[in-house]
Symmetry: C2
Subunit: 376 residues, 2 copies
Amino acid sequence: MPVGTLASVKGMPQDVLEELGVQILLGNTYHLYLRPGVETVRRMGGLHGFMSWDRAILTDSGGFQVFSLTELRKVSEEGVTFRSHLDGSSHFFSPESAMAAQIGLGADIIMAFDECTEYPADRERARTSMEMTLRWAERSKKYFEEHKGEVPWAASNRQSALSTHGLQIPRSARDDSSFKSREPVAGETQTLFGIVQGGMDRELRRESALRTVEIGFPGYAIGGLSVGEPRELTREIVESTLEHLPAGKPRYLMGVGTPEEIALYAQMGVDMMDCVLPTRAARHGLLFTSEGKVSIKQAQYAQDAGPLDPNCRCRVCSRYSRAYLRHLYASNELLGQVLNTVHNVTYYLDTMRAVRHAIQLGERARFLSEQSGPKP
Amino acid sequence: MPVGTLASVKGMPQDVLEELGVQILLGNTYHLYLRPGVETVRRMGGLHGFMSWDRAILTDSGGFQVFSLTELRKVSEEGVTFRSHLDGSSHFFSPESAMAAQIGLGADIIMAFDECTEYPADRERARTSMEMTLRWAERSKKYFEEHKGEVPWAASNRQSALSTHGLQIPRSARDDSSFKSREPVAGETQTLFGIVQGGMDRELRRESALRTVEIGFPGYAIGGLSVGEPRELTREIVESTLEHLPAGKPRYLMGVGTPEEIALYAQMGVDMMDCVLPTRAARHGLLFTSEGKVSIKQAQYAQDAGPLDPNCRCRVCSRYSRAYLRHLYASNELLGQVLNTVHNVTYYLDTMRAVRHAIQLGERARFLSEQSGPKP
């Protein structure tokens, strides 16, 4: 899920996202709450209407940004008081207000308000934090069940929010047979996922998973990872936690990762992931290619007439040279950021396409071998 | 001609330029000379190969930027010594070196190296400056005739510079029936235009025009306007100068203007214009619409669900709301700059399309009335 922090995947128009085959993007509730504000988005028909995107959207609860971006925050059982990173103004998030904000933003999938346990944290701290996340999960669910009908598009379809003023999603995007943009049925509401915490302790993670499943959500996320721990530890925790999350419901690993990691975790059973890495790295000239990472600002590329990635079929790699991309980055040209982002996002999407393909081939092979009966 | 200063129309990929129907763009020799440097561009097959653009390109000579962007410059009969605005390094431009640079950059149309007379300038100063521009025009032409064969694509076609490494202009862009991207014939060279100066004095302008035509160029530009003079004066000078430039050759008014101005001058007989206004204003949130200028950052648009310009059919106006564009600009999002630029460039191109249409209708009406014979 490309990250569209402030209702925009930085530099990429929505029609380009559609062309690349993006099915779902992520919006950050913390950022949108500050700008343009939940009320503005609600009035525009929710995020879909506001950003003219009628494929899927997931919002996080704001919990992570509050912990990672702000200072002078005060955590209590009630929630978190914090100061905006923009202007220092004081705000308060709770499970209830985070649900209210996400309902107003109207994403398809929304997240319970959790506490992202800091790293490192000893076992006692990780337990305390986990227990609060579970209590906050109950409160998130309760509030959501009571108010989910208030989602901006519940009583009407999404198109009306756009078509009132003659705006429309191009037909070509809506009829894309590989992905059906689906109008929500009247009365349909959002989906709330729960989040597993527990720090780096396998037992706590197991307990958090089981007790979150006990509360009951249509999907589950693994939070609190990629917070500075060694990669091998991330992998262990993911592997063991997945065992305790029902395979029949979406399992979402938050905030990872590199192309190698997303392929690895997908093959382990993770269904959804988000990461700023492809987009943020792109804006710093760090490009992922089938031949390894390329730091395009390097002088070695200044007269390199070849494509960025000879194995990539994106619009960037089929048209522009490394020399040109290097020049754009070195000259701080907007187009450099745009093209770099198009490539990196394509690379990530292609990586996942390859994983899905491999999974399907594996299933087909298994099916065929079952069909042919026991070996003589 | 959209301005692609550093081999990029800021934020707009070349395929978007093609879709909008851009036939020719402008590159700035001063900027490209500094970054990435003429040699790099030459090795990539000239600007066309470097930026993967196979429609037309025009480069200015660097003269204007040297006068407008740099300090500590010293003008002599030989040329201009100046310091780079980037790092203060010392450089020298002359008619000969400006031709050499433009030959290396390989644009289809290149400009004589002139002195852009400052404003205001008294008659004596305007004459002195005009005389030097005429001497520099002779030197420009002489050097060009002696070295034009050195253009990077003279001995081969442009595609080879790109195709060596598998890069290609999409067929859809090349086969666009409204504009034939034309491969240069082997041995074909660039076209050098002369520039008329003379300050704000009609007589000097007339003399400059006649004497530039006497030197002889395939096309002529009117320089040294839009340098701070009142608009009405610009108009007078353009009108009177045009009379002395052959109507059968392209007449290029440099550095103008607003949508109203470009329509006006085109109807007066100007064939080509360039201006940073559409692109630069876009990046400052100033958008030209059929209903007047819109400063999109204004709070009044924060919840405006309507399109930017209801009469515009560009991708921005047919999809996104003013509220969204306002949010993007206020949040300093890259996409805001990209979408604003797409709209403004479309608006300028549509303005010129309307002018061409009106000219054709006028000609058709004139033709029909001639056909029907004298009135009884």
